[in-house]
Structures are given as structure tokens and as C-alpha cells.
Symmetry: C2
Subunit: 229 residues, 2 copies
Amino acid sequence: MSGKRLVRSGTTVDQMVRAIADRIVTGYLRPGERLDEVSLAARFDVSRTPVREALGHLSAMGLVERRPNRGAIVAVITQDHLASMFESMAELEAICARFSAERMTGGERRSLEIEHQASARLVQLGAEEDYEYFNTEFHSRLYRGAHNTHIHDLTVATRSRLAPFRRAQFMLPGRLAKSWQEHDVIVTAIMRGDAAAAGKAARDHVSIVSEASAVFAADDRKPVRRDVA
Amino acid sequence: MSGKRLVRSGTTVDQMVRAIADRIVTGYLRPGERLDEVSLAARFDVSRTPVREALGHLSAMGLVERRPNRGAIVAVITQDHLASMFESMAELEAICARFSAERMTGGERRSLEIEHQASARLVQLGAEEDYEYFNTEFHSRLYRGAHNTHIHDLTVATRSRLAPFRRAQFMLPGRLAKSWQEHDVIVTAIMRGDAAAAGKAARDHVSIVSEASAVFAADDRKPVRRDVA
DNA sequence: CGTCAAGAAAGTGCATGCAATCGCTATGCC
DNA sequence: GGCATAGCGATTGCATGCACTTTCTTGACG
């Protein structure tokens, strides 16, 4: 990423978008933090033009907020909006689970169950980080299993925006085992082809996560600058 | 505002985004059509820089497709993706209707019913264009009535992208009356507070529209350039 | 002492220019 | 005659520069 030749990768801006989005999603950049064009340009060793383009992308994604003539800041998410996103997430996951129960191919069902069972070991070991990886993969399987690209996109996008607020969820004691059990209910329903049950289980699963994360998010919002008119 | 502007409106790019998005959404620009930067710059009497920024926004919105070093085209929507968007739309509307049944305030319920009843006259008169306006407003009330800003945004965005494929739906004979009756089922369920019934009615309503539009969309796709590698 | 205003500094918004890349065409070779 | 390749035109990608807007600072007035 540094010292690259002058060769046109064709995705210079995309790389910046991913890099900045990653910093926001991982919480490295906090909501309300200013995104100075010149600083970013220096940081990525490019001119301001591609920076502005990247900020445009991120703005359209909802990750940053652009105020005319006043620069860009990492999107400040109100408590209300955060709640609405979690609720949406629950509904979107419910849709994916319902569709997955109806449409997953034999191969998709098999690998879903296999991976799910494999992750049980991680729960026993208490391997939070490894489980988090499997957890992400598990949900991605649901999104893909819905066999609906648009729902997939909406769900992935919403999940990305929620990522900063879900980071500490597995730190709560017993959360790992509970998460696995909730996954188990979803998997069982999908294997039965019970769409309604799968949808309900997925919705409940996400709702519980949202409650676990909401408190953390509330605490985290204190240092956010309130200088937005 | 008009003519030569030496004053910085601060939203020059946004105006272009809306203008281009409008042209795409209304079908004035067809899928696959090339969006030349210099032509657009000349068309809007600006330089290429804001044009590029606007294209970035539109690309992030999914309305245009940007191929590195190969320019931008109006997003070509495959039959599969179109179907997935219609299906998503049905699910999103179902969510909005369900939430509306549970959460709409007294005022919202009242005005929903009043406007709905008023639009009955337009059906009798066969006023397609006026009904289309009320139809849009009707659905917007559902989205707002869900009291969930994120679902609202997702739904509005999806609806926008489907707009080009829904244009001729009311030209089918009897569609006007059928649409009103379907709306009536939704309104009745919402007034009863019957979330499940409202959701189902909304889903069915959109599904029917999608079927009515699918054929039109299929015919419309013929002239689309298939030069995409 | 607090409020307001004028100027300077900082930073964004857009225009312009140049270099790299892509697509097309014509020419040479098999 | 068909296919590969080099050259050319067209177009995109990015850097730089200037104008305008916002904001911070400093000084005057109530």
C-alpha cells in the first residue's frame, strides 16, 4: 500500500475506500472524528482528488457524513438510528434464514451444519476470536443461502455499519455458548425446512445481540462531539 | 440557482446526482447506456471533477456501474438481480406494513385512511397519473409509519432502483382498481392493528406488481448492450 | 467584562492539465 | 485468407492550482 509504483492499479480509490471503511468499522476511527482531506491524502500518499472520491463513496455508504464546505466526519449515529439498524438487522436476518430454509441446496445445508458443529469445539475452548470468525462465516452462509443478491447486499451493508457496535459482544460471560445454542436452533430449523421457525430463531438471535451491544454503544457514545447543528 | 452561477451553492454535485439519478430512474437513460464524463460535464456546464464525484455517488447507490479505466454505464440489471430486488421489495414492504400496524400514531392512521379513501375517486375516474402520485404517497406513508429510519432508507432506495421497471404497470387494464383493493386490505389490517395480516397483504401487493412488471422488463432488456466481459 | 466585528488562516469545491490505459484499426506474418 | 501485433485516437485517473467558504483570532466598542 505504500511505495507502490506509478502503475495504475485501477482500484486506487477502492483500496482507500476499503482502508478507511475498515478503520471506521473496526472502531479505529470514532464517530464524529474529522476526516481531513489533506491529512488523508498525505496518509495514503495521493492527492486530494482520489481522497474526495473515496469520501464520496463512503458518504453514499453511510459510513461518513459530508457537510458542504465543512468537511467530512465519521458518521455520527444517534441512539435512535442505531436501534433502527439493529431492528432492521434482525428482520433482514430473519428473511435470510427463512429463504435459506426454503432454498439452500443440499451442499449448502451440509456445509452449514458441518461448520456449525465444528465451531462447537471453539465454544468449549472459549476461543473468542476464532469463534468470531466462524460466527461471521455462519451468518454469511445464511445471507448467501437466501439466494437473493439484493437481500444479500442490504444485509451485508447493514451488518458492516453495525460492526463498530458489536465488537465487545462476546466479552460478556456465557455469550459464546448462548450464541452457539441460538445458531443451533436456526440450523435445526433450516435443516427441517421450517422457514417460519428459522426466521423467528434468526430474529431472536440478532435481537439478543442488539440488547447485549446497546449498553456498550451507549457508554461509547459519550466522547462523541455534539457540535452538529 | 439558474443561469451563470458564480455563487457556491455547496450542493452542485448533489444536484447532479439527483438529476442523473432521476434520468435513470425515470427511464430516460437506459441500462447499459454509456455515461461519458466529458459529455456530462458539458451537459451540466461544469468540469469533469464534480462529474466524477457524482458518478462515484451513483455507483455507490448501485444506479451506475463503473469499470476501471473503461468508463461508467447505467447499471445493467440482470433478470436474476431484478427478480431478487422485486422479492426484496415485497419483504421490505411487508416489514413496513407490519411495523406500521403496530406503531403508527393516531394521526398517521387517520391520514393514511383519509388519503386512501380519497384516492378511490381517482380509480373511478381512471386517472392513472394522479393515482400514481397517490400510490407513491401511500407507500411512503407505510415506510414512514414503520418508525424505523434504516428500514425506511433501505426501502426507499430499493424502490428507486425498481422504478424504471414499474413504469408501465398501471397501463394494464383493471390494474388501477385491483391496486386500490389491495391497498384497502393493507389499510384495513393496519387500522385493526393486525401486523401479520398487514405484512402478508403488503407482500402480496408488491408480488403482484412484480409479476405485472416482469414481462415488461424482459421485453425492455432486449436493446441492452451485452459487451460486458 | 462581555459582545461583536473585521481580518487572517485553514480547508473545501471546482477547473485545468498531463500521463496512463483501453479499444480500435491497419499492417505484417504465417 | 486468417490471426497476431503495433500504432493511434479516445477516455479515464490523478496531480496541481485557484476561488470561495468557514472558522479561529484579534481588536474595538458598549
